[in-house]
């Protein structure tokens, strides 16, 4: 597994402290982050691939300082957003998955084979030539995940990937998460998604207030939010 390391990381938005002196080493395979609205989860997750640069402290991925080596880090870290709509760039499903591979400069045959394999794996093969924006919400999120995984990242970070989905589609995403070989960091309010994870971190007002196996951590979180 890769190592994600936070060392004395704080972040302020307009003077307001939203991440408060966090130090963490994430080496487990599947890690969940929970916490109340505004507790700083998204900010923390975004720091892993450099979408947010900490005001102080450092974040490293496999020893690479995210602030200085953003591009290399983003090749290793795939990011799944809550709203797949703003993640889709190209007009059709196949083209959007292929878009990720542009930066890999593969030859056409290899790229096509990789795109086809991923489309197959996510049950999107029949939809390959459909306009991506006309997919259902669940299909869009599967597409977003497929488009991330085709790049073969070492780490996948997902910020509330199932929030906009119904129970069945949320379960499908969860099932895909369970089969991933990649290291996974998931922010979620859907606690059952994290029950089978290796480690769960609880945030409150920018600080880590619990960091444990899922059961005790989720219990602590439930007690916290009453």
């Amino acid at each position: 597994m890769s190592a994600i390391r936070f060392e004395g990381v704080s972040h302020r938005f307009d003077g307001e402290l939203v991440v408060d002196d966090v130090s963490l080493e994430l080496t487990e395979r599947r890690i969940g982050i929970v916490g109340a609205n505004g507790s700083g989860k998204s900010t923390l997750a975004r720091m892993i691939n450099g979408l947010v640069t900490p005001t102080s402290g450092t974040v490293t991925v496999d020893g690479l300082d995210v602030a200085r080596h953003g591009r290399e880090v983003r090749r290793r870290v795939g990011f799944v957003f809550t709203n797949a709509d703003t993640q889709i760039v190209m007009p059709t499903v196949r083209e959007d998955v292929a878009f990720t591979l542009r930066r890999h400069r593969l030859d056409a045959a290899t790229a096509t084979a990789r795109v086809d394999a991923v489309l197959d794996r996510f049950g999107l093969a029949e939809l390959a030539d459909r306009p991506a924006h006309r997919l259902s919400g669940g299909q869009k999120q599967l597409l977003a995940l497929a488009a991330v995984l085709v790049g073969e990242p070492a780490i996948v970070v997902a910020d509330e990937p199932t929030t906009l989905l119904d129970a069945r589609n949320a379960r499908r995403i969860a099932e895909h998460f369970a089969t991933l070989d990649e290291q996974l960091v998931v922010v979620s309010h859907q606690l059952e998604l994290l029950e089978s994870f290796d480690r769960v971190i609880v945030m409150e007002a920018g600080r880590i207030v619990a960091d444990d196996a899922p059961e005790p951590a989720l219990d602590a979180y439930r007690a916290l939010i009453g």
């Binding site: 591009r71 957003f81 190209m90 030539d129």
Partner: protein, 197 residues
Amino acid sequence: MIGVYHPGSSVLHRMPALAKLALLAATVTATALVGSLPALGIVAAATLGLFALARIPVRVAWRQVSPILWVLAFAVPVQWIFAGWEAAATMGVRLVLAVALAAVYTMTTQVSATLDAMQVLLRPFARWIDPDRVGLALALAIRCVPLLADLVREVLEARKARGAEGSLTALAVPVIVRTLRTADHLGEALMARGVDD
């Protein structure tokens, strides 16, 4: 012309986008130069043949070509009055042909193939403009059409639900705010997907 790619495996689908673009440009130019109605009739027959070759259903083809008829309903009578029926007919047929030929192109060509073709065409100018950037900008412009359409529809519905149907403020403010926020999210997603590489 957005999202109208009609999947298939015909000769036209498989033909390189650059070749199709060249043919399209040549044919449309030719119809503009050819004056006689019989000659245009031959081109029209050939165009129908292309639709058949690409196996595009009549209904789908009609949806692409029919909007131009609204323009013709106005332009042809005007032309008739000022320049006679023959000039009016020639103009009408030319316009329909141009739209139909362009439709054959868009329905048999994926947007990414068009972008790749554009990048090839722009390569001689690579010293001044980055073909990759231009391609991406075009792809994003195309992507933003359905995104904005959805956004405006949602805001219109919300405005209605809150009983502010007539209010321009209740339309403009949320549309602008949400457009900016969407642009922000799209920018982040592009960065996460490696566009800054």
